[in-house]
Amino acid sequence: MKTNKLKIFLGLFVLPAIGFLALTSIALAQDTPAPYTGMKNPFKWNDSAATRAGKSVYLKSCFSCHGETGADVIDADFSTPEFASKLEARPDYYFYIASEGIKDTEMAGYKHTVTETQRWQVLTYIYTLGYVPEAAAPKEENPNVTPVVPPDQQNNNVKPDGGEGQQGASGEIIAPPPPPPPPVEVKMTVAEKAHAGEPLPISVKVSQGDEAIPEVPVTFYFRVQYYTNSPLLATLGEAVTDENGIAQITYTPKLTGYVPIIARYTPEGEKPIEISSLIELTAQHGEFYETEVGLEYKGFPPDITLFPMSAWEPREPGLAPVTVFRIPGGLPFIPFAAYLGVVILVWSLYVTVMYQVFRIAPNTKAKGLDPRLLPMAGIGILAVVGLAMVVILITGPYSGHVIRP
């Protein structure tokens, strides 16, 4: 009797309940709620005007998380053809996500900040990020490449330029290999010292042997120094060489310290050539870009930083910067000196206390054990740790910037 009742119970209530829950959870995971259900893209997926408009909205609202190719968010990778086909199949669902966001994630809803038309334009643009055309267009002929003429069609009586002909085995004239072209050289001309805040001209000459190479782009960078000393390159700009092969830009530095300026030229099809110069930038008082935060402090005592010149060289990413001796100057010197003084005082008192214990111990060896062992060890440990504390305070990582008094 009981088993029958159990079967009825399972059949009528439990199994359908489980099934219902399973189906609803699957459905809810993919369901597009009203009023978005069944919406369609008013633009064609290859509408170039909508794509352009969508791109500008994308760059403003979506680029920061999703990136240039749409691949930056792993769970929503726009750059794959699969995503593009999913988008084409269910535009209402993706419009719903763009409008309302996804709960409990960082995807926010944009229905209040982006109009409906713009949201469809963004989706049209996103489609192009993943869309791969099926047939590749035929390649155009490269006009710079001369067609190779097979040797049996050559005129055997014509001597080739630049070299002496040789009689080959079959009677043809084979040209000797031309001499290798001279290497491309990039030279930079820039002042060694400059003031921050003043315009600094940088010029680069690109030449190959005696010939200058005109009308090629040269990119200028400077290496940014942060505490991690990772060799980040910040772009200063791009210039094109003139008929003398000289590219020039003007850079107004807004920082001080030893700054490497780098110019890079990439010959076609080859590896980029770089040249760098080290510039010492100092502050021009009054014209320098100063931060507005904090108290203005100057003067006495001067900032003292002692570091080897090798400290400015970039190190491998992940390595800590070089430790240098450093004592701040000006107003920060006061709290620094007070703190350092307190640390020295406290640890000296610790050593004094241990010294008292040392003096408690008699100067005899009782049964082969020196009673002064513990106090001496104590004094040693306390002195070493105290010194370590002082050293922590007076050293710091090299930061590449001169601290202005």
Binding site: E106, A320, V346, W347, L349, Y350, V353, Q356, R372
Partner: protein, 447 residues
């Protein structure tokens, strides 16, 4: 008559203080065994974290400080117990505090060790802690915290050691017959040839005086720099000037609470009933209730000045704290740290000791919860306009295991310390008793 009384007292107090060093009961072994198991499990959790990385914890990009940090703050808070009893009460010439000094100092040293461990666990790559020493910047509050912790830890160890010299000397003398044993050698080294001469006493008194006066500002500065790691930021809830005094007073308060609990436990299990009397509990409970109201004042002042103006980001944090997901923690803190202990400590019904020890336990729970309330809701405040809800923080089993391990390790260090040191400074107690008897004798002779 008088001499016999003194000798009896001296023998008794020495026997009681030395009893744990001589015999180990089964009860103790079981207790230490359980603690060791818990510590072992915690170490396994840490090994998992070392292997897989901090992803094993619940800390993420937004809530990047979690259980480890607020446990660190809690244990640093507990550590002011020693400064309170040994130093403050010694300066106040409160003679009743003598039986408690060793316990208090042990609590301080153990809690600072646990605090240092908690920070090591939080760092994730412990080898990178060396970088704090090599490339630490003096501008960094974390460097101040490191310096403060080292200073306070070593100072507390010295301060624990100084009064024990006399005790170690007596222990060495008792072992004269077994003068080649290891124990005798250890006690000889530790007692640095103490004979009780006038000169030695003068030197020890001078050393103790220096440490007593110094350890209070060192302890206060330790808590100040711990608070500065938060107060020097611009986060809501942390960017308040009262945070450092808050931490110092809260630490004294926590310290009093822990002291009550540890006193109760040691008194019961080590049979210290004659020396740690209900009077001691009552006096410490007066301290605790004073500190309770002082801390309540600080907390109320801090919150009131923020809530009155209510900047946008502080509105977020107080919504979270009073009405949001962190509310259970906040109201638990108020109940366990303020309301219940106040009732227990003010409504003075006998028997005193269970009531007062219970209050101490509640204070500890409440202050532990308060450290959560200080650290985590601030990090939950959303930073970007697109974030409409508070960031979540769900501690993982690794963090919970290590938290429990912290408490177990604290108890384990205290338990093992009873086997290494006498739990009361009995040499000092004997001396004080002698002086008291001498004074009484003088008065009876005069009368």
């Amino acid at each position: 008559m008088r001499i016999a009384q003194v000798e009896n007292f001296a023998e008794r107090v020495e026997a009681v203080s030395m009893a744990p060093l001589k015999k180990t009961s089964m009860q103790f072994k079981v207790f230490v065994g359980i603690l060791a198991l818990i510590v072992g499990w915690g170490l396994y959790a840490y090994a998992t974290q070392l292997y897989f990385g901090l992803i094993m914890t619940g800390m993420r990009d937004q809530v990047s400080w979690g259980f480890y940090i607020f446990n660190f703050v809690f244990w640093v808070g507990v550590s002011l117990c020693g400064a309170l009893v040994s130093a403050v009460l010694r300066l106040a010439h409160a003679g009743w505090r003598t039986p408690l000094t060793r316990i208090a100092e042990l609590v301080t040293v153990s809690s600072l060790i646990i605090a240092g461990l908690m920070i090591t666990f939080d760092v994730g790559r412990p080898d990178r802690m060396l970088l704090l020493f090599i490339v630490g910047r003096f501008q960094s509050p974390l460097v101040w915290d490191v310096i403060g912790l080292m200073t306070y830890l070593l100072g507390s160890i010295v301060y624990l050691y100084l009064p024990s010299i006399a005790d170690f000397a007596i222990m060495r003398d008792r072992l004269q017959k077994a003068s080649n044993s290891l124990k005798y050698k250890i006690y000889s080294i530790l007692s640095v040839g103490w004979k009780g001469t006038t000169e030695q006493k003068a030197r020890l008194a001078k050393a103790a005086r220096i440490m007593t006066v110094m350890i209070i500002p060192i302890g206060a500065s330790m808590h100040t720099v711990t608070a500065f790691t938060m107060a020097m930021t611009l986060r809501p809830g942390w960017d308040t000037t009262i945070l450092a005094p808050n931490f110092v007073v809260g630490a004294f308060f926590s310290g009093a609470g822990v002291l009550l609990v540890v006193m109760g436990i040691f008194r019961k299990f080590l049979r210290l009933e004659e020396y740690i009397t209900p009077k001691h509990f009552r006096y410490i409970s007066y301290l605790a209730i004073t500190l309770l109201f002082t801390y309540m004042y600080f907390v109320v002042v801090e919150y009131l000045t923020i809530i009155f103006k209510l900047r946008l980001e502080e509105k977020e944090i107080f919504t979270n704290l009073f009405l949001g997901p962190a509310a259970p923690w906040f109201y638990t803190f108020v109940l366990f740290a303020f309301l219940l202990p106040a009732v227990l400590l003010l409504w003075q019904r006998e028997p005193a000791i269970p009531r007062i020890v219970a209050a101490g336990l509640l204070i500890n729970i409440g202050m532990w919860v308060k450290r959560y309330v200080i650290v985590i809701p601030t990090l939950q405040v959303p930073l970007m306009p697109a974030d409409v809800h508070f960031y979540t923080y769900n501690p993982s089993w690794v963090e919970l295991s290590i938290t429990v391990m912290g408490f177990a390790l604290f108890a384990l260090i205290l338990a093992l310390a009873t086997k290494a040191l006498p739990i009361m400074p009995f040499a000092e107690l004997i001396e004080e008793h002698e002086e008291k008897q001498h004074r009484l004798h003088e008065e009876t002779v005069k009368a």
